[in-house]
Symmetry: C2
Subunit: 331 residues, 2 copies
Amino acid sequence: MKVSIKDIAKSAGVSHSTVSRALADSPLIAERTRARIHRLAQKRGYTPNAIARGLVTQHTRALGVVVTSIADPFVAEVVRGIEEIAADNGYRVFLGTSHDEPAREVNLVKALREWRVDGVIVASSRVGALYQPHLKEIGAPIVLINNQGQAGARAIHSIAMDDSAGGELATRYLIEQGHRVIAYLGGPADRASHRDRLNGYKRALRVAKIAFDPARVQTGNGKVEAGERVGELLARAKPTAIFCYNDITAIGALHALKQRGVRVPQDISLVGYDDILLASYVDPPLTTIHQPKDEMGRTAMRMLLDLLNGDQVANVRVTGKLIVRESTTTL
Amino acid sequence: MKVSIKDIAKSAGVSHSTVSRALADSPLIAERTRARIHRLAQKRGYTPNAIARGLVTQHTRALGVVVTSIADPFVAEVVRGIEEIAADNGYRVFLGTSHDEPAREVNLVKALREWRVDGVIVASSRVGALYQPHLKEIGAPIVLINNQGQAGARAIHSIAMDDSAGGELATRYLIEQGHRVIAYLGGPADRASHRDRLNGYKRALRVAKIAFDPARVQTGNGKVEAGERVGELLARAKPTAIFCYNDITAIGALHALKQRGVRVPQDISLVGYDDILLASYVDPPLTTIHQPKDEMGRTAMRMLLDLLNGDQVANVRVTGKLIVRESTTTL
DNA sequence: ATCATTTATGCAAACGTGTGCATAAAAAGG
DNA sequence: CCTTTTTATGCACACGTTTGCATAAATGAT
C-alpha cells in the first residue's frame, strides 16, 4: 500500500492540508514545519498521486501523441523531439499508433478523451476523414504535424514541411547542374506530399522555361519497389536526371540502375527526399532534401506548450535543405 | 466542461450510481433503464473519466515503457510490438526516453510512480546502477528487455536475446565458409551484449580449434564511427573476415573499406548483427544476425499481461537467426 | 390479503489531492 | 494589558467514479 498524504499527516501530527501545502512549498506554512514534513515525506518514501491530483486540478500534464507507426524512422525522429521537450517541461507522453486502421484510430481518440489529456500532437501521414471530426471532440489543443488536411480545416494548428518548396529546390538544383530532361519518380498519387513535390518540380521547370512533359512523371508507392520500376521511366523519358519522391524510392532506383549497368551519377543523376540515415550510407551517397525531423517534433511541442499557456500561435511551415552528396553531377 | 456521470443522472432522473452501473452493463439494472441511459450517454457525448475511475479502482490500465532512444530503429521496432499488444488489451502506454542520462532516468521513474502505472517495460541498453534500485520502488510488475542486469537481480522478469549464441552463430558461419583469420569489431566494452557476443565468438573459435588472438578484437561505440575505424583492425590483424558488433558498425566498416579500395566480399567478408532495415539495402546487402524485434516487444508485453493477471511467468531467452546475404563469401 | 422473496434503485463512503474559508495563536501597535 | 493585524493551521468540500449496504417496489407463494 502506497503511503498517502494522510499517512504522513498522521505521523507529523498535522492535518493533511498542511502536508499538501508544505509539500507544495506554500508560503502559508511555517518554515520549521515545512522542513519537518519534507524530511518525513522523504523518509517514508512518499510519492504524490498524479491521478488524484489530476482529478482535482482538472489537468493531467499528460499529452497524447498519435502516429501511424513508430517503426517509421521519420516518425521516430519526430517523436524523439516531442518527447524531449515534453519531458523538460514536466509533461508525460501517451503514445498511440494508428497504423492507418480506422478501428485503432477511434479507439485511440477515445482513450485520449478518457484520460483527459491536456493536449495532443498528431503525426499521422493521413488524418483520415473519420479522424478529423473525432479529434476536435477531445476538447484539448491539437497540433498537427505534416497534416494532409485540406486548408479548410482551420482552428487547428499545424507545422508542416513545405513540400512544394522542397520539390522546387531539388529540381532547380538539377537544372543548375545543366540537366534539361529531368524525370520525377513520384509517390502515391493521392498523397498531398506527392502532389506538392510534383508542383514544386513543375514550378522549377516553368521558371527555367523547360516544357513540362507528363511522360517524364511516374507515380509509385513510396517504397523500394517503386524505385525498382525505374526502368519503365528510363525507357519512356530518357532522362539525364531523376528527382525521386523519397530516399527509399531513390535507393530502389539505385539498385535497379546498378543491375542494368547504368552508373550513378556518371550516366544519370539521382535526387532523393527526406535525408534518412540510410541516405548517406548507400553507394553513392544520395543528394537529397533534408527534413529537420526532430526539430519539427520540438517545434510542434513548443507550439503545444504555447497553446496550453493560452498564447496565440501561428502555424509553421518549414523548408527542407538541399544536401548535395555524390549521386548527382553536372551534365 | 465535460459531461459527467452526474449530469446524465440528472437528465435521466436517476441517481449517479444507477448510471454508473447501467454503463457498466451491470445485471442489477433493469434492461429498460439500461438502454435508456446508454442512449442518453451517447447523445450527450459522455466519456468516462479514466482519472476518476483509476482513483477508486486503484489501477490505471496504463503502462510505462522506458527506452534509451526511440530514434534507435531497434528500439522503435520493439516499442511497436509492445504498443500493439497493449492497445489490443486496453492498456495505454506512457513512453519515456532516458538517453542514458541519469537525470532523465530518475525523473522518469518518479513520473511512473506518480502515475501509478500498472506495469513497466524497460528496453534500455543499460539499466544503470542508479536505475535498478529505483525501479523496484515503483511497486509494479516489471519486464526487462535485453537487460544488462547481473544475474543476481532476480525477482525481475526479463526477455533477452541470447547474444552469446548469436555471436557463436555468426562466427561459426564464417568458419564454415573457410575463414580462419576472423576479427571481431566490437561494441562498448562495458555493455553486456558486447561481451556476450565476444564470448560467442570465442566459443566458436574454440570449437573449431582456432587460437584466440586478442589483436583481432577491437572495441567501439556501436555507431558508424566505430566501423570507420576498421583500418586499424585491418592493419593489425589482416583478417579475411570481420564479425561486427552490429549492422551500424558494419555499415561504417563497409564505407571505410570501399574508400580504401577493399572489396566486400571478394577481399573481405563482413557480418553484422541486428538485421535493421538498412542492412538489406546497402551495397552489398549485409549478412547478419536477425533479431525478432517486434516479436520481442510483443512477448514482453504478453509476459507483463500475465504478471498483471497474477500468473507465474518464466524468463524468455530468444536466439537470433542467421541471414545470409552478399557481404560474405567462401574463402 | 399477507408475508417472503426477488428485483431495481438510491445513499453514502471511499480513493488522494487541492484550496477557500474559518479560526487559533502569535506578534505588533497603542 | 487590550485590540488589531499577521501568521499558521485545520475543516470541509470538491473532483468523478465504483461499490457495499439499505430500502422501496414489484413479484411470487400461501
